[in-house]
Amino acid sequence: MDPLPDGLVVVVKRDCATCEMVVPVLDVLHRDHALAIITQDDPTFPAIEGTIHDADLSLSWRSDIETVPTLLRRVDGEEVSRTVGWDRSQWEAITGVEHLGIELPDQRPGCGSLSVDPDRADELSARFGTSTTTSRHVAFAELEDEFEAMFDRGWSDGLPLVPPTPERVERMLAATHLSATDIIAIIPPNLVEATVEKVAINAVMAGCKPAYLPVVIAGLQTVCNDEFNMHGVLATTMGVGPILIVNGPIRTELGMNSGMNVLGQGNRANSTIGRAVQLCVRNLGGGRPGEIDRATHGQPGKLGLCFSEDEEGSPWTSLSESRGFDPRTSTVTAFCGEAPRIIFDQMSRSAEALTKSLALSMLANVHPRIIGMDTTLVLCPEHMARFRGAGWDRERFLTELRSHLDLEVDSILRGVDGIDEGIPTGLGLEGAVLPKFNNGGILVVHAGGQAGLFSSVIGGWVSGSMGSVPVTKEIVR
């Protein structure tokens, strides 16, 4: 549509009492002073010949109209004066006409312009604004169902996706100080440079709110590095995937769940942040099941498993603090893990008894005879109460726990008791005692509902530089 004409211009809408009130003035100015009238909603309002209907609101948006009526004067394509609402002295000054609307009150405020209506502003910004996005636009056919279309294009993890329209992506991008073109990670297996824009598109599809984007970005950064080894995590036939644990103030700001059903469904941030990271791995990195992802079984958490620690309810330092971060810093920790498994203990009443009981259950991690794979223990509040009562801190607990996690090699050798799995013979380890978990190989997080004597343990994969190392990154906002 052409830009606004030179001379006097007014922008109005019918759904505005002030606009209705000034119609007699508009009539006079149109007749005697060539006032151009632009109407936003009803093309028959005002009933003055020559009124321009700004149906797509492009004129209003491009002219930064925030209030109706807005009266302005343009000379040689430049705006030289503007007033909003009805103010006789202002209207007289701009038009140079005296005694305007003498029957009207001196002043009356206007109404909001349709072009700044919260329901429309993002759409208009995406359509008419200086878009920061450079991704290819994919237009679905008229008869195509958009949800089916996204499945058909292979973008989905098996669940419906939110269509990543330019407006939604713009809204998502507004949540970060980063530029849309900034590269935030190199995503395996195809080693693709992930721009903030591409991550934002996948975050929209996952169902994230814009405020979650910094967590998604940090989450991707925790898995896309040589230590976490996302390529190997994908390629292994073992059913492991990235498990993201959020610490710090952002947990409460985003309303993340660290309480009841913490490892389950029902919280938007928990459910969509992990999903967004996995969609990036799929759609950008090319890590798709049946291709590079070779998992025999996989596990439900590969749709995206993200949760936060209950820091407020814990007497201990948080997971993040134990890994060297300030408690005021928000972080994501990525752990390569299988599905959570429950540790049932409703009888232990002392810290010592519960520790032994937890250790016994953890000896079965992956397999009772496999050692050296890491684990994440999610301690529930009622179990934590035993350690709080005993005055144990995180370090004391880990020391006590580890003391019950040593294994006599002779009992876990291959072939013992007719079981072939185990520690290889012939390595000279006979008679030795080895720890189930390597030093630093047990992450402990406090989370869960206030009632219930069920902690959970999440088994890991090949640990250390030969496999995957847990990685913690700061969430930068």
Partner: protein
């Protein structure tokens, strides 16, 4: 009105490369055997090496540092420059 969305993929098209032509005979060729470091991969490759040498090929053995990560670029480069063919072995 049709709906327009932004492409969530990396928007690249994989480069398609043809396979190296299969040699008619292994006599005089150098075959690389890459052990990915899974248990007993060496047992399998010992047999393969024995069979290949019986066909007149010479064999160079390679090992990945860990089965859990891709082969390092230097190792891939060395195999591609020193060998006429390669067999990658998984075992367990």
């Amino acid at each position: 009105m049709t709906l327009t969305v932004l492409d969530p993929t990396d928007e690249t098209t994989p480069q398609v490369r043809g396979r190296t032509e299969r040699p008619e005979s292994l006599t005089g060729l150098t075959v690389g055997l890459l052990d990915i470091s899974k248990p007993r991969g060496n047992v399998f490759l010992d047999q393969v090496q024995h069979r290949l040498e019986g066909l007149g090929a010479s064999v160079i053995r390679y090992t990945k540092p860990t089965f859990a990560k891709p082969a390092p670029p230097d190792l891939r480069h060395e195999i591609s420059t020193r060998c006429d063919a390669v067999i990658e072995a998984l075992a367990d």
